[in-house]
Amino acid sequence: MWRLVWKNLLRNKRRSFLTGSSVAVSLFLLSSLAIVYTALGTPLQHGDAIPIMMVHRAAGIVLPMTAGHRARIAAVPGVVATSSLTWFGGYWKDPSDQFGNFAVDADTIFDVQAASRIAPEQLAAFKGERTAAVAGKQLADKHQWKIGDRITLLGSMWGITPELTLRGIFTGGPEDQFWFHWDYLNEAMGRPNIVGMYFIRIDRAENAARIGQAVDKLFRNTDTETKTESLNAFLLSFVSLLGNVRLIILAIGSAVGFAILLIVANSMGMSIRERTAEAAVLRSLGFRSGHILRLFLGESLLVTLAGALLGVGGATLLYDSLALSQIGQFVFADMRMRPETLVFCMGVSLIVGLAAAGLPAYRAAKTNIAEALRYVG
């Protein structure tokens, strides 16, 4: 029976090839969309074994906080280390080459980001020089930076261009980030004494709710009310700003899925209609309706699954090998083919294969044999 399915598939090679190719391209697109969709909904957890919380303005994460808050936050029981983080948003040479660059409190950033490791002499050099900077290994490798390289950050909304010297390369944690001294930024801006947010490392993850409430209570009924949340929750809330993007991706993905269905349905519909009489001949020889259904559905499934293997396989190879996290920054950092995405895409191809051939195959299997023979004859 499978031999017949295979031979029928090769009956019109061009049509089978074009149908399979259409499915492959469509499934590649669908896989890409699914990967981005999943990456947007699942932020990377830097050093998730270490309980880290974020303190930012309750009114919005883009609003600045007062630099003087750090000491008050550090005094809350359960807070092990505190550091500030200010988004700089510059680029190095190429405006399209965006990466996370932050002004940080050099003395404490590695206490909070304990998942990041740096050689002691490099850390000392970073702390001891106001124009020093450190980069994650992934980022440094990408730009082929070496210790001692001069790096000028351009194009920031802050209106300054820090000229920095790379003094260290850290591994672990957010390896796609670049950190320099907040003091330098603050001085260059005329000492406004503001920071973007605070990072706090707490003693135990299960104390997160209590510590968060305690920190927020410090600033309740002030001009700078805070919202303290876990790093993961923070990243999720950040991603939620992209909620509409996910909706758009979902809509495009649905359209792509529907387009595949139409392509395969059209192709299989034509192919099966052309063979209505052949199906009738087979039935006259003793083949049952179930045999005919399996024959046509098998063909459709073979085409769609072959296309899906190419499309989904191509997407898997592309996203897993190109390390796209380097261009995506932390919200896109996990852009790879996950098992559930793979299952989803193959499931779509399976459904498309069955749905596309279902109706014409059913008709061919159920039409009165004598009528079907006359159909062609």
Binding site: M1, L282, L285, G286, L373
Partner: protein
């Protein structure tokens, strides 16, 4: 006396299309005995193919009684009917109806795929019937590589490969030149005389009818009395 292969009584077939009603067969009575080579003749639209299809179990009567090989074919479920056709009926069509992507061997093997025969047993059956129709040297040829006469011989081999009791042929020489037609008719005659197959053949061709042992005429859906 052996049980008739086909026993039909008061059989009618009415086709309905929208508000139109066409009576294709009108109260037919017919008996086909084992070993008969029955030729059904008549003008186009007389109902001969419809009668053949009903006897072979690929169409159902509107009214009347129908027994084929002792079975009430009209009452069988679709799946049971399919299995019954596989075992008892061999079909030969006017347009051969071979599967173009399969070789002669594979076309003939098709009905055997539904049996429990092993690959080797299937091979023996297929080669035997292809030899019977004189095409043992064409087993790997595709239908497009065969002449019309050869295609029809492959179709006869396919019809015979399950060793059915009843062979039904609908205008088997209709698409053939005179020489090929004669070859096909010779094979059918041989199947009838040497292998004792009961054959029902529909044809327009008076020359074809000469090979039959019984000839009946249909006209406007009615079976005319046998010629004396």
């Amino acid at each position: 006396m052996a049980e008739p292969v086909v026993q039909i009584s008061e059989l009618s077939k009415v086709f309905r299309r929208d508000s139109f009603e066409v009576r294709a067969l009108d109260r037919i009575d017919l008996t086909v005995e084992p070993g008969d080579f029955l030729c059904l003749m008549g003008p186009s639209g007389s109902g001969k193919t419809t009668l053949l299809n009903i006897i072979a179990g690929i169409d159902r009567p509107t009214d009347g009684a129908l027994q084929v090989l002792g079975e009430d074919v009209a009452e069988m479920s679709e799946d049971r009917l399919a299995a019954w056709r596989n075992v008892h009926i061999g079909f030969v069509f006017q347009t051969f109806n071979l599967i173009p992507v399969l070789t002669a061997y594979e076309n003939v093997e098709l009905p055997l795929l539904l049996t429990k025969l092993s690959g080797e047993e299937r091979k023996q059956h297929v080669l035997a019937v292809l030899k019977l129709v004189g095409l043992e040297d064409r087993i790997h040829h595709y239908p497009r590589q065969l002449s019309g006469g050869q295609e029809q011989r492959v179709a006869i081999a396919r019809a015979m490969v399950t060793d059915p009791t009843l062979l039904v042929a609908d205008e088997p020489t209709g698409d053939l030149d005179a020489h090929s037609a004669e070859e096909v008719l010779e094979i059918l005659s041989r199947l009838n005389t040497e292998f004792k197959k009961t054959i029902i053949m529909v044809t327009h061709d008076p020359r074809a009818a000469k090979h039959a042992t019984v000839t009946r005429h249909l006209e406007k859906g009615q079976l005319l009395p046998p010629e004396s």
